[in-house]
């Protein structure tokens, strides 16, 4: 929580409606996302109960497990879900594009589009992860055979769940998370976890304040919980008798009634997000997602093993370092794309905005062997400057150009510029900021950072268990009880 967001929450209380905390959209939104709303049975270890799933608002498909404690029926549910999800995934394995990799030393093919799953909340992401875990090791032959689609579903769900941990990925997105990144409500983040209440604040029905709409949204009779947990009263008064009755149509109706309001909310969320213009770096991140997707399609096609149960030591450390780098990059990208996000850094002194009051675009630095073009500009800052000489800053308006702070006196900051001006000793017109131009400079950088060196798999130090064995699922995995 930043001070700007906190202030936006306060303003939302006063205005009676959520306030924007982003000027552009920071998540990618597919033109045909797969909306997935899972419900699980209370008290069971992630036993699926029902789901509403589909990639268009008009045609949700209802999946129901008539006896949630019945193992065969659970795998039946998994097989049906697999059919829907895997064919959705497959529908993106069409057109590819050729992209340069390894700094231009090689090329590879990448699908031009990729699947995107939208779930209501963090619990929905947890369901995807655990349902993936409970299905990916199943065998399709022998004693505990399941439908061949089941383990494949498990691997895809696991793939999506792992992507969801990757900062900036849009392959598996929770609606509360996506909306909460763009709007601040007049309630707490605890209450924002309720999708109906969150949307109540963002788009209250006519004649209602956000607070009133959110209050109404908390009534589980009007707005059943968005899952995976169900409302206990529903369980006791509707679900239990419906299961008992043995009538599939009664059960289906009961579950459809629980799920449909959330279905409607999910698509309302989609429209709200679509109405925001996409940030300019969203496409770049989606390209990473497409790359990851392409890679996994190839891995599965080559007959790779399902994802291991737990990351081995080196893999876990590598993954953590990768996630940290991705987080830093994602933070920088959002700030570069969005002045409102950048403003948070101005508030904390990691950025300053101002106007150019002096510019010497032809200044040369002759101190080295070769003379180089190093223009100086003076920026009069609107913000308190908390950065000192020697610090390197970049302006999102000119990401290819670096500025090194030469001196700071009062609100005047002198910067020495390099990069983004061609190779000559005179700067092409427009490549050096001119007097009067308004700019923001920040220490955030989106430049490539070399990954930390980790020992390769075979060189895992003995302190971390020595080289790990490749994770090969065994009989026990295939037979794992599910009760």
């Amino acid at each position: 929580m930043s001070a700007l967001t906190a202030l936006a929450r306060a303003s939302a209380v006063q205005a009676g409606v959520a306030q924007p905390i982003a000027t552009v959209r920071h998540v990618h939104l597919s033109s045909r996302p797969l909306v997935f709303i899972p419900l699980s049975l209370a008290g069971e270890a992630h036993a699926p109960l029902a789901a509403l799933v589909g990639s268009s608002v008009e045609s949700p498909q209802l999946l129901v497990v008539p006896q949630p404690r019945n193992r065969d029926q659970r795998f039946g549910f998994a097989a049906t879900l697999a059919e829907i999800l895997v064919s959705y995934v497959d529908s993106f394995c069409g057109e590819t594009e050729t992209v340069a990799v390894d700094r231009g030393r090689d090329v590879r093919e990448r699908y031009v589009d990729a699947p995107q799953i939208l779930v209501p909340n963090g619990g929905g992401i947890g369901f995807v992860r655990l349902f993936g875990r409970s299905t990916r090791f199943r065998r399709t032959t022998g004693e505990w055979a399941v439908d061949p689609a089941v383990p494949l579903l498990g691997r895809w769900l696991t793939f999506f769940a792992e992507r969801a941990e990757y900062p900036g990925s849009s392959m598996l997105v929770s609606m509360t998370g996506a909306l909460g990144m763009h709007w601040a409500t007049g309630q707490s983040s605890v209450e924002d976890a309720n999708l109906a209440a969150l949307l109540g604040w963002i788009a209250p029905p006519a004649g209602m304040t956000g607070a009133e709409a959110a209050l109404e949204a908390e009534d589980p009779l009007r707005w059943p919980p968005a899952g995976p947990a169900t409302d206990p009263t529903f369980d006791n008064e509707v679900l239990a008798p419906a299961i008992e009755s043995g009538s599939l149509s009664t059960l289906e109706k009961a579950l459809r009634d629980q799920l449909e309001p959330t279905w409607e909310l999910m698509w309302r969320g989609v429209s709200l997000l679509r109405a925001l213009p996409a940030g300019s770096r969203v496409e770049r991140r989606w390209a990473d997602d497409r790359g990851a997707f392409t890679g996994y399609v190839e891995y599965v096609a080559e007959g790779g093993f399902p994802q291991a149960k737990l990351d081995v030591a080196v893999a876990a450390a590598q993954r953590l370092a990768k996630l940290e780098r991705a987080q830093a990059l994602y933070d920088a990208q959002r700030a570069y794309d969005d002045p409102l996000v950048l403003a948070e850094y101005r508030l904390t002194g990691e950025a300053f905005a101002g106007s150019v009051v002096a510019s010497s675009p032809d200044r040369l630095d002759a101190s080295g062997k070769k003379r180089v073009l190093r223009p100086h500009i003076t920026v009069r800052s609107d913000d308190p400057v908390r950065l000192g000489p020697g610090v390197t800053v970049v302006s999102p308006a000119r990401p290819a150009q670096k500025g090194r702070i030469v001196s700071v006196s009062g609100s005047d900051v002198v910067l020495e510029l390099s990069g983004g001006m061609g190779r000559g000793l005179t700067a092409p017109p427009g490549s050096v900021p001119e007097v009067g131009e308004r700019l923001t400079y920040t220490t955030l950088t989106e430049s490539y950072q070399a990954p930390a060196a980790f020992p390769s798999r075979d060189e895992t130090p003995w302190t971390h268990g020595g080289p790990p064995a490749e994770y090969v699922p065994d009989n026990e995995d295939a037979a794992e009880e599910w009760s």
Binding site: T5, S11, Q19, P232, P339, L347, E481
Partner: protein
């Protein structure tokens, strides 16, 4: 009649259990909750009556599953549990004897019998048992004795007691839901404390009761149990602090109006006759400290949230902090817009708020 009896009115005090005692520690700074709980007032009933019913329902599926799991573990004289504990605690096999304390009907008799058996075990008597199923313990909470019933107490060689707590949430690949583990640990800490006090009263070393409790949960997606040791030292100290605070509740109660009561004044058929507005006024006389975490922990949360509208605390602790600790939303916004002038101790917060407001205004038109 004590002041607490008067506050509660003419009804039996609401009984605590480990879960409600654990919940006491969720918001230790709240006098309202401390007073209500010390007086044994039925907060849930009160909240419903004044129009802010709590929503802490439990699904019958969850209850059924929990009971079935516990029954499975305890079948055949705790056979499955015993096997698990032998692994987790290295319980020597030959000493495993089992006392089912649940079957005794009378509360006091059960408590006495439990005390007798547990103290005998503590003195290292021959054949004193190693497993105690549902012993009944007592703990003093705000001047009243509360009965508590741990799932199981196990005794290991060397006379160490372990509280065993059975939960039906799953541990998957060695990981479980953090909130659930934490709640289970706090509840177990209540049992550890009660057991320690029991032993201390009988002249034994209270530290014979381990601060590690054994949490038994289903593993992965199966019914197979797995035991995990959880260190509850931190929970214990929070709990002890809160209980001693409850013991000093008198000071808070003394400061309340001498005719304040939350009596619902039921008529002869038990229907409350007390005007709700009087109860609301009464609640207003006892200081609360609402935060959004109350929603998951206290039956009065919807009422307190309603009352706390317009406070920065109701938006969450971090929002309040980011707004420089200013307590009301209106004041924070007035300071931000410059329409209110800050008190000397608000200067810094006000400057930050004005700056933040200026930035937002510059960008969001």
């Amino acid at each position: 009649m004590t002041s607490l009896d008067r506050l509660r009115g003419d009804v039996q005090p609401k009984n605590h259990n480990a879960r409600t005692i654990a919940a006491l520690t969720a918001n230790p700074g709240c006098s309202r909750r401390a007073v209500m709980d010390a007086a044994g007032i039925d907060k849930s009933r009160l909240a419903s009556y004044i129009g802010f019913p709590a929503r802490f329902g439990q699904s019958q599926f969850a209850i059924t599953r929990g009971n079935a799991f516990e029954a499975q573990l305890k079948a055949n004289g705790c056979a499955e549990l015993l096997r698990l504990l032998r692994e987790a605690l290295k319980l020597p096999i030959e000493e495993a004897s089992y006392d089912d304390l649940e079957s005794l009907e009378q509360m006091d008799a059960r408590a006495a019998r439990s005390r007798q058996l547990l103290t005998r075990a503590a003195s290292g008597e021959e054949g004193a048992g190693t497993l105690f199923d549902h012993p009944l313990l007592r703990l003093e909470v705000g001047g009243r004795w509360v009965y508590l019933e741990p799932d199981l107490v196990a005794l290991r060689t060397g006379g160490k007691f372990y509280v065993v707590e059975i939960k039906s949430f799953a541990v998957i690949d060695g990981q479980a839901d953090g909130t659930k583990v934490s709640a289970a640990a706090t509840q177990s800490a209540v049992y550890v404390l009660a057991l320690r006090r029991l032993l201390a009263e009988a002249g034994h070393d209270p530290l014979l009761v381990s601060h590690d409790v054994v949490l038994v949960c289903p593993e992965n997606f199966s019914n197979r149990p797995v035991a995990t040791l959880v260190d509850v030292r931190k929970k214990l100290s929070v709990l002890e602090r809160q209980l001693s605070r409850m013991a000093r509740i008198d000071a808070i109660v003394e400061s309340l109006s001498p005719d304040l009561t939350f009596d619902l004044a039921p008529d002869s058929s038990g229907v409350p006759q007390r005007p709700a507005s009087e109860l609301v006024d009464g609640l207003g006389q006892v200081d609360a400290r609402y935060s959004p975490e109350c929603l998951a922990n206290c039956e009065l949360a919807f009422f307190c949230r309603h009352e706390a509208r317009g406070t920065t605390a109701s938006l969450g602790k971090s929002v309040r902090e980011e707004l420089g600790g200013v307590s009301s939303v209106e004041l924070a916004l007035s300071l931000a817009s410059g329409s209110a002038s800050p008190e000397p101790d608000q200067e810094e917060a006000a400057a930050m708020l004005r700056y933040a407001a200026k930035l937002r205004a510059e960008i969001v038109s």
